[in-house]
Symmetry: C2
Subunit: 762 residues, 2 copies
C-alpha cells in the first residue's frame, strides 16, 4: 500500500523533463493573439475612444471596446454556484469597463495576427477620460462625500456585518479588567504563481471552448456562460497542467473576455496571455486589512471579552468579496475563547486598487497576524509567558463550533507547540536573548494557527469521480478536483490504490479536466482536495470494487462477501489470503465475454457535509540589525496537524511553500500605489520583493498525525494553513529581540528604522 | 423530434470551414519525424544493413532496423479480441520485418528532426538482400514447391475451409440437370480515403499515447500493447476527426511502430505520416479473388445444387485473413437457396502483394460480383427473364439463418426491385436495347445484394456509452463508436434527442475517442455503428431518463411513472402534456442542492446478440463504345432497405459514396504489379484510376423503409452494402448491350477490346 508513503509524484518525470503540457504548449501555431488595453487613470469614465489608427495597422483583426461589450454584469469568484441569490457573488463588472475603477482597468481589447501588431494597435488607440478622485484605502473610500466606485454601494461598502457572541457591553463592565487596544495592518500582496494567467479560446460545433490555466474549470464554465449570456452547456473548459494558482486562478479572470473575442470573430483560436506586469495589476491580490482589536482581560490573563473591527480593502471589483474578511472573523471567534463575550464588525470596502480575491489562507493570514501579535503584546504587558497565556484562552480540546459542527478532537495544540519549542530551544533562547544589547540582536517568537477544510456549510461541497477499469487491471480515475502543482493527482492515485486494492503504479489519473466529460467537482480551493476529493475517490472505488467482486462470484465461484482485492489480485479472505485470479484476467473476461460483456466503470457524486479543524504553529528565530533596519530569519519551523500524512514528502513540500510565502509576507512583499495617480509602482519581479531562496533559512517542517475521523483517509487541510502563522511568529521574534512591537507588515527598513529611532535603539 | 429528419451534420460547419481538427492538425511544431525504409525486393531476406552513413546525416536522431525490433509477432486486424485462441487473428508480422514478403515491406525506420533529414537517411541506408521467387497470385503461391511466405503455412494457405449444406454429390445426380460453370475474377483495389494513414506518439507518465486516424481506437490500444509486449493499460489511443477509412483504418497499421519509435527515444513526440504512395503499397487493399461457380439447374430455372470455390489473395500478411472470404461465402449460402445442396470451398492464400484487409463490403463485393454475373449468364443461357429467374431462387420472405438467427422479415427484395425497375424503365429498355447494332450500344443491367449488420455471432458485439447532463439541460454523449466521416455522431445525437426527450441542438457528441476515458466500444466497421451503437445510446438514455424522472419526483411532487420528458421539459403525461419544470432547472437544482447534490450521468454497456439483414439492388444503364473499348455509365440507381431512415440526407450520402466506389471497382480501379519485380506499378493517384465525379452519372438513391425489429431505432446496415451491387449491375448492362459476358473487372479497354474482337463486334 502506498498511502502514507512518500511515493514520487506521478507527474514528476513529465514536469522535470519539461514534457508536461501547460496551456501555452497547446496553442496552435496560427492562433490569433489578443491583447488588452488598460486604463491609464485609476478612477473615472471613458468618454470616447478612437480606434481608427489602430484598425489600420497591418495584422489587426478586431478591436473590441468597452462601448461594444454585452451589457451583462457578472461575478468572477470561484465559488460553487448557489440557486439562492443571497449566496451569489457580486456581479459588478463587464467584459470591458467604460467606468474605470482602477489604474489598469480593462477598457478595450485587440485581436491581431501577431503580438507585435496587437501591441502597436493598443498604443494607437486614443482614449478620452473623465477623471474622479482616487480612493486607495477603505478609510478614504468610506469617507463622507467620496465618489461611489459602484453606484449600488453607499460609502463604497461592498458588505458590512456584525456578529456578537454573548453581551459584549455587559461583559466589559466587570470591575478590574485591563483593556488593550491595537490596530494591525497587513499589506496587499500578489500570488506570484510561476505560470502567468493564460488561456485560449475557440469555437467548436457552435460552442465555445476555453483552454485555461485555472484551478476551477467547472466553475469557470458557469461564469463564462453567465458573462456571455449563453446556456451553460454551450461552454466547455479544458484545464491542462497548471503552474500554480494560490487562489488567483480561483477566479474566472480573463476566460470570459477570451471566449467573447473568439465568439466575435466566429470562432477562430484566440490566445490571451497576460504579462507578469498585467498579472500584478490586473488579476487578483490578497486583501490588505486594517484590524482593530480591543481586549478586556483579567490581570491573571483570562480573556473576558474582545472586540474585532476589520476593514478589508476589496479593490476595484467584488470577486470573493466579503467572504474573505468573514473567514478571518471565524478565526477571531474560534481560536481563542473569551469567557463572556466577543463582538466582530467587519467592512469590505471598494477602492481603486487591484481587485482582491482568494489567496492562500483566505483572510486568515491577516487575522492571525493581528490576533497573534495582539496576544503576544498582551502577554508582554502582563508579564506572562506568551505560550502559557495562549493556552489559558485557547479553544479547548472537545470544543465544537455550533455552526460548522467542527470538533477539536485532540490535544493538538499542545502536541504541536511542544515540538516547536523543542526544535527552537524555546526556553533556553527566550532566556538567552531576553536582554540583548548591541546593534545586532536575536529573538525567538511563535504563533498558532487555525484553519478548516473545505467550505461546508457556507457553500456546498460536491465532488464527483469516475473510474474506468482496463483489461490489464489498471484503472483510470477522473475527477473535477484539480492538480495545480500541489500534488493532488498523486494523492488521488494513492487513495485509489488503497481502497481498490490495486498497485499504485496501475492507477492512471486523468490530470486534464474537460468540463464536457470530467465529473463535476468544484476544483482546487479551501484546502479541500484530499478531504472532499478523497471522500469521492473512496466512494467511487468502493462502488467499483463492489462491481468487481460481484462479477468475481461468477468467475471464482465464491461469494462476493468472501472476496477481497489485494495488489491487483482477487483473493479469498482468510488469515493467509489465497489468490484466485488477477483483476486483469477478470477485466478481460468481463469485457470480451460472449455471454455478458461489460466495461467495468463506476461513477459517483460525493457531497461532504462535514469540515475539519487543522491546527498548528510556527516558531521563528531572527537576528535584527538595528542600524541597517534589517531582519534576518535564522531558523523557522512549522508544526502542523493535518491529520494522517498521505504522502510525507508532498506534505513537506506544501508546508515549505507556505512558509516561503509567509516569509515574504512578513519581511518584504507589498504592492505600493502612487497616491497621486493610483498607479501600481512596483508590479514587476524587479521591484516587488518576492521572498526567494536567498531570504530563507533551512525550513523545518514537523507534523502531528491525529487521524481525522470525518474524512475518508484521515487527512485535513494542508495546502493553505502553512502560509498563515509565519508572519506573526517572525514579528513576535523581532519583538523579543528588540522590544519593539510592530503592528504592520512587511518589516522593511522603511518601517524598522524609524521605529528603532523612536525607541532610542539607534 | 429530429430522428428520421435530414438535420445537418453536427460537424458540418467545422468541416466545411476547415476548422475541424484532424490528426496532423494536432502535431506539435517540434515533433520528430519518422520515416520508413521499404524493401526494394518483393520476396527474400535482409542479410545485412549498413546504417553508418545514414546516422551521420545532421538531424537524424535514431535508426531502427529489422534486426533491432522486439521478437514479438502480432496481429493487426481490427477485430474485437477473443480470449479463445481459435478466434484470434494471425500474429504473423513484427514491427519491422527481416523476412521480406512484399515489395515495400517495412525493414527499417528513421527518426529525424525534420523530414528532409529523415528521407536523406533512408536513402543512405545500404541493404543486402537474399531473394526468393516472387508469388503474386494464389495460383502461383499454392503451386507445389513454391517457397513459403510464412513458414507455418504449407502451400502458403493461411486458411482453407469447406462447408456443405445438403449432399452435393447426391444432388447433382438428378437427371436432366443443366450444368453451368464459370470463373470470375475481381481485382485488388485500394480504399483511397482522403486523409492518409497518419499517427503521432509520445509518452506521458510512463505510458505511451498514440494519436491516430483510426476507425478503432480501443482495438488499436490492445494491438499496440500486444506488439510492444506492454500491459494494455499502459497504452492510450486518441482518435481525432478522421478523413475516411473504408476499412483500411480498421487495422492497426503503423500505430505499433510509431509507439515503439517514441518509446525507443524515451518518449518524445514522433509523427509518422505515410505518403499516398506508401498508403497504396504498404497499408491494406481489398482481396483480389478468383471465384469458380458450378451450378446445377433445372431447365425451368430452379437451382438444385451449386458449388463455390474461391481463392482469396491475402497478400503478404494475415490482417483480417480468412474472415473476408468467409463472409463472402455467407452470401453464397444465403442469397439464393438451392433446392438440394450447396458446397463451398475457400482458400485464403499468402502472396507477395499488398496485404489485404477489410474494405467496405468485406468480401461481399467479390462474391456478389461472381454470383450476380453467374445468375445473369444462366438466365441468358436459359432464355429466362433475369429478374424472374432470381426470384425463383431467392431467399424467401421468412427465411431464417440458423447460425446468426437472422430473419428476412419482409418482402424487401420485391419492393426494392420494383422501384429500381420503374426508375430505369426496365421493361422498355430491355426491349429497346435488345438488338442494338452499330459501334455504340446501350444496355441495362441489375444486381441484388445482401448484407448483415455487425459481426455477431462471429465475434462479440459490445458498445458502451456514457451521458453527462449539464446545468442547462443539455447533454454530452461519449461512446467508443467512431465518427470517421460517415455521420455517426449526428445520428447518435438524433437518437439521444429522441430517447431522452431533449432538443437535438442540446446533444453534444464527444467526437474524439480517448481510450483512457471513452467507454469501451469496438469502433467503425461491419456497418454496426447505428445498429449496435444505437442500442447502446438507447440503453444509456433510458437509464439517464430514469434517474432524471426519479429525481423529478422530489421537485415536482409527482410519481416518476406519471412523468415524461419532451423537448427538454419534464411534463405530466396526459393528452395535453403539462409542463412542470425544465430539465435545466432540475439539473441545476440537483447539482447545487445543499441537501442532496448529484451530477447526473449514466453509463451502460450494451451487448448485442442479434444481427439484421440489409437488402437491396442496383440498376445501371450503360453505353458501350465498341471500337474505343469504353463503357460510359449513363444512369444508376441503388435501392436499399436499411430499415428506418434515421437521417435521409446522410443515408443518401452513404449510398452515393458506395455507388462511387462500385463504379471505380467495375470500370477502372485495380492495382497492377510488375510480374518480374513484384513492384506495384500504379500506386499513385495519377496512375490508379480512381473513379471521380467525371466518371459518374447522376447517382440516384431510393430506399425501402422496413423498420428493423431487432434494432433500437429500426435501422440496419447502411454503410457498406451500397458498394456491393454496382459492379455486377454494370457488368450485366454491358452484357445486355453487347452480348459479351465479362468475367472479370475492371472493364477497361484492355479487357473490352480483345473480347469484342473475339466476339466479332469490332
Amino acid at each position: 500500500m502506498s498511502l502514507g508513503k512518500s511515493v514520487p509524484r506521478i507527474d514528476a518525470y513529465e514536469k522535470v523533463t519539461g514534457r508536461a503540457k501547460y496551456t501555452d504548449d497547446l496553442v496552435e501555431r496560427h492562433a490569433l493573439i489578443g491583447k488588452i488595453l488598460h486604463a491609464t487613470i485609476a478612477h473615472g469614465l471613458v468618454k470616447r475612444m478612437d480606434t481608427t489608427e489602430a484598425a489600420k495597422i497591418p495584422g489587426v483583426v478586431h478591436i473590441l471596446t468597452c462601448f461594444d461589450v454585452p451589457d451583462i454584469p457578472f461575478p468572477t469568484a470561484g465559488h460553487p454556484w448557489s440557486t439562492d441569490p443571497a449566496h451569489q457573488d457580486p456581479a459588478d463588472r463587464k467584459l470591458l469597463n467604460r467606468r474605470v475603477r482602477l489604474y489598469g482597468d480593462d477598457i478595450a481589447a485587440v485581436v491581431a495576427e501577431n503580438e507585435v501588431a496587437a501591441v502597436q494597435a493598443l498604443r494607437a488607440i486614443k482614449v478620452d477620460y473623465e477623471t474622479y478622485p482616487i480612493l486607495l484605502t477603505p478609510e478614504e473610500a468610506m469617507r463622507e462625500g467620496a465618489p461611489l466606485i459602484h453606484d449600488q454601494c453607499p460609502r463604497n461598502i461592498l458588505k458590512h456585518t456584525t456578529i456578537e457572541d454573548g453581551d459584549f457591553e455587559a461583559a466589559i463592565q466587570e470591575p478590574g479588567l485591563l483593556h488593550f487596544e491595537e490596530t494591525y495592518e497587513t499589506p496587499i500582496v500578489q500570488h506570484c504563481h510561476i505560470e502567468p494567467v493564460i488561456s485560449f479560446a475557440y469555437m467548436e460545433n457552435g460552442r465555445i471552448v476555453v483552454v485555461s490555466s485555472t484551478q476551477i474549470p467547472h466553475i469557470v464554465r458557469r461564469i463564462v456562460a453567465q458573462a456571455l449570456g449563453l446556456p451553460w452547456g454551450k461552454v466547455r473548459i479544458i484545464k491542462p497542467f497548471v503552474g500554480g494558482g494560490f487562489g488567483n486562478k480561483q477566479d474566472a479572470l480573463y476566460e470570459p473576455l477570451n471566449a467573447y473575442l473568439s465568439l466575435c470573430l466566429g470562432g477562430p483560436m484566440v490566445k490571451l496571455e497576460l504579462t507578469r506586469e498585467e498579472v500584478f495589476f490586473a488579476t487578483r491580490v490578497r486583501h490588505g486589512m486594517q484590524i482593530r482589536l480591543s481586549s478586556y482581560i483579567r490581570p491573571q490573563g483570562r480573556l473576558v471579552a474582545r472586540q474585532y473591527r476589520a476593514y478589508s480593502n476589496q479593490g476595484a471589483y467584488g470577486s470573493h468579496g466579503h467572504s474573505i474578511a468573514a473567514k478571518g472573523t471565524n478565526v477571531f471567534r474560534q481560536l481563542y475563547q473569551d469567557e463572556k463575550a466577543r463582538k466582530a464588525e467587519i467592512f469590505t470596502v471598494y477602492t481603486n486598487t487591484a481587485t482582491a480575491g482568494a489567496m492562500r489562507g483566505y483572510g486568515t493570514p491577516q487575522t492571525v497576524f493581528a490576533i497573534e501579535s495582539h496576544m503576544e503584546d498582551m502577554a508582554r504587558a502582563l508579564n506572562l509567558d506568551p505560550i502559557e497565556f495562549r493556552f489559558m484562552n485557547l479553544m479547548p480540546q472537545g470544543f465544537t463550533d455550533p455552526f460548522s459542527k467542527n470538533v477539536n478532537y485532540f490535544d493538538t495544540f499542545h502536541q504541536c507547540v511542544e515540538q516547536g519549542k523543542a526544535y527552537i530551544h524555546w526556553e533556553e533562547k527566550r532566556q538567552a536573548y531576553q536582554h540583548e544589547t548591541g546593534p545586532v540582536r536575536r529573538g525567538v517568537g511563535m504563533a498558532l494557527f487555525w484553519y478548516n477544510t473545505g467550505v461546508w456549510p457556507i457553500s456546498i461541497e460536491v465532488s464527483s469521480c469516475r473510474m474506468v477499469l482496463n483489461q490489464d487491471g489498471s484503472v483510470q480515475i477522473q475527477l473535477g478536483e484539480t492538480e495545480i502543482g500541489q500534488g493532488a493527482d498523486t494523492i488521488f492515485a494513492q487513495m485509489t490504490s488503497e481502497t481498490l486494492g490495486v498497485p499504485f503504479e496501475q492507477v492512471h489519473v486523468i490530470s486534464t479536466q474537460d468540463t464536457d466529460v470530467t465529473p463535476f467537482g468544484t476544483g482546487a480551493y479551501g484546502s479541500r482536495q484530499s478531504y472532499v476529493g478523497g471522500m469521492a475517490v473512496q466512494k467511487t472505488a468502493l462502488l467499483l470494487k463492489e462491481k468487481i467482486l460481484r462479477l468475481a462470484e461468477t468467475y471464482t465461484g465464491m461469494q462476493a462477501s468472501a472476496l477481497d482485492m489485494r495488489d491487483g489480485i482477487i483473493v479469498l479472505k482468510s488469515l493467509n489470503p489465497q489468490a484466485l485470479m488477477s483483476l486483469g484476467e477478470l477485466a478481460t473476461e468481463a469485457l470480451y465475454s460472449p455471454v455478458h460483456a461489460e466495461h467495468l466503470t463506476a461513477e459517483t457524486t460525493l457531497q461532504a457535509k462535514s469540515n475539519a479543524y487543522s491546527f498548528g504553529c510556527a516558531f521563528a528565530e531572527v537576528e535584527v540589525d538595528l542600524p541597517l533596519g534589517k531582519v534576518r530569519l535564522l531558523d523557522m519551523i512549522n508544526v502542523h496537524d493535518c491529520g494522517r500524512l498521505l504522502n510525507p514528502q508532498l506534505a513537506q513540500a506544501q508546508v515549505h511553500g507556505g512558509m516561503s510565502m509567509a516569509i515574504g509576507y512578513s519581511l518584504s512583499e507589498q504592492l505600493i500605489y502612487d497616491t497621486k495617480t493610483g498607479r501600481l509602482l512596483n508590479g514587476t519581479f524587479l521591484d516587488y520583493k518576492l521572498a526567494t531562496i536567498m531570504d530563507h533559512p533551512h525550513l523545518t517542517t514537523a507534523f502531528v498525525e491525529n487521524y481525522e475521523p470525518t474524512g475518508a483517509y484521515g487527512s485535513k487541510a494542508l495546502g493553505e494553513p502553512p502560509a498563515v502563522p509565519g508572519a506573526p511568529a517572525i514579528r513576535n521574534a523581532v519583538l523579543h529581540a528588540t522590544g519593539v512591537a510592530f503592528n504592520r507588515i512587511p518589516l522593511t527598513p522603511h518601517v524598522l528604522v524609524p521605529a528603532f529611532k523612536q525607541a532610542g535603539l539607534i
